[in-house]
Amino acid sequence: MSRKFLETESPAWVTEGLITEAQRARLLARYPPEAVQAVGLLPLLGSILVGLSALSVVAANWPSLPTTVRLGLLLGSLLAAYAGGEYFLRRGNRRLGHGLVGLGLVMFGVSIILTSQLYQLVGYDVSGLLAWVVVGVLLSYLYNSTPLTLLPIVIGAAVQTYCTQALGLFSYATIGLVALGSGYRWWRRPDTLVASVLAVGLLWQAALWVVLSHSKITWFFIPAMLAYAAGDWHPAGQGTDRPAARALQGPPLVAAYLFALGLALFGETDQYAGLLRPPVLAYLGALAAVFALSVAGKRRQGRLASLPDWLLLLPGFYLPGGLPLAIATLVVLYAHAGSVLARAHRSGDAEQLTLGTVLFVVATMVAYFKLTWAFLDKSLFFLIGGVLLLSLSWYLRRRNASRLAAGAAAVTGAGSPVPAPPAPTSPPAPLA
């Protein structure tokens, strides 16, 4: 709550008798205005400008500097960044300290790249840059800092990109370091932001592997769902409220959903479906293994309710292309949207309810587009589609509103003194 909000709202609280004038004064005194912070920014801005000027002088004269001076400059700034980081951490300025340590890590990578460039040296494997990832992962264990945990994940993705694009080979060491090193760091100290970035970073590397090895793109979902299964096994926060684990599962699910959507839209042409069909036994075996792993994790953590997530992974692309495939995918999309809505109704989670509604509307749009575009007059197509969507959104909104209101009423009716989030109430109404 910001002080501005407190200032504008609190007089009304006093008139309504919620708090006394004395309590209002104490509340205001508890959150002093933050005018001092803006002044505190000035030295930081000043030093950034001075730093930029030094950087531009060096950059402009870089090619004509002697080799030893260049090497000395690189190593000097690397050491200075780490020493400065430790200095500020010891003085208690955590943010600046961690920032400087991160700068030191970036300087290490820059030093490796610029030193190879200094000698016009070409390496033929990733070992030169792998050291960067190793140091990044080790540093993230030394400090309790989110940015320093994110850095090796981003560096790993960048190194893998360079490796696959410039050297034409996939570095299993890099993805292993990020998955195990940064993954274990997250496992010990779960955090939603780290989880999302970790999942996106790993998916990016998996996608690079698929492109480089000319594999069928469906193989992408084996590593992606492995990341998802790791979220299932994570022990933090039993029950449905596990934001850190759900954040890790978000990116794989989004990828799987987009894939299913693409299949529903373009799956009719056998040419596209043909691009997706890996050898049946190998793919289904691998997928079943990951599925079993995920189910075991869900059972252990008591989260079997999220099992319908796996609907998106049904390998419908083995069906003959054409209408059967499109229809089957649509049924899956509807089933998935329905499962999300049902779960949201059961838990009374407003965000999940919105998500389920959006998924339901999207599935309806795709179905409508697929089934009527070919033979309906175009103006009629848009008219009916628009009316369909409008009435659907009106109906779902009304349902959700009444559902949430019922949940809130149940809580206040029970005589709860604090307004808690709506608790799980009656069993869900049959849906979709």
């Binding site: 190593l75 690397l78 050491l79 290490f108 030093s111 000698y119 034409g168």
Partner: protein, 176 residues
């Protein structure tokens, strides 16, 4: 997980920073050693476009050896784009190296031969496009290329280390 400001934490950080400095020095050492212990070959280029030097600190070199006839391919399967290859170079009487064969596996060069690693960029009906990662030349401040106005052809002195790294040693203007 170690807490901050303990002696062991500080020791670990110092070791880590020292390892980083040593590593960068190691990269520099590899640069020296490649020249000192490496095999030296010369590669000719097509005329170099110097206009980019006004904006960037490097020029792009197009090697004559970046194009090889498809008959020079010595692989079991047909070449693919982005494939890593080993290019066997033969040094001629004018000491310039020419492509003698493109292999998909490592091989030992004979006398007056060298192996430079590279990648296939394109497969044309009759020729192969190759890339050596030596195409970008960061021009030092005192290089004659910085004074040139026209587009000269150059001769690039490359050294190849026994452990596989390669570097551009120097670039000389070709006298015509």
């Amino acid at each position: 997980m170690p807490t901050r400001h303990t002696p062991s934490h500080r020791l670990l950080l110092r070791l880590l920073v020292a390892a980083q400095v040593l590593y960068v020095l190691g990269v520099a050492g590899a640069g020296y050693a490649t020249t000192a212990y490496g095999q030296h070959i010369a590669l000719a280029t097509t005329p170099v476009d110097l206009h980019g030097l006004q904006y960037e600190s490097f020029v792009r070199l197009h090697y004559i050896a970046a194009e090889a006839p498809l008959t020079a391919w010595r692989g079991a399967s047909p070449p693919q784009r982005r494939q890593a290859v080993y290019v066997l170079l033969a040094t001629g009487p004018d000491s310039l190296a020419t492509v003698a064969g493109v292999y998909d596996r490592e091989l030992k060069p004979a006398a007056r031969q060298a192996v430079l690693r590279g990648w296939v960029t394109d497969v044309y009906p009759r020729t192969l496009g190759l890339r050596y990662n030596l195409e970008r030349y960061y021009v030092p401040g005192d290089s004659p290329l910085r004074l040139g106005k026209t587009s000269p052809a150059v001769r690039v002195q490359v050294s190849i280390a026994p452990w596989g790294q390669a570097r551009i040693e120097s670039v000389r203007l070709l006298r015509r």
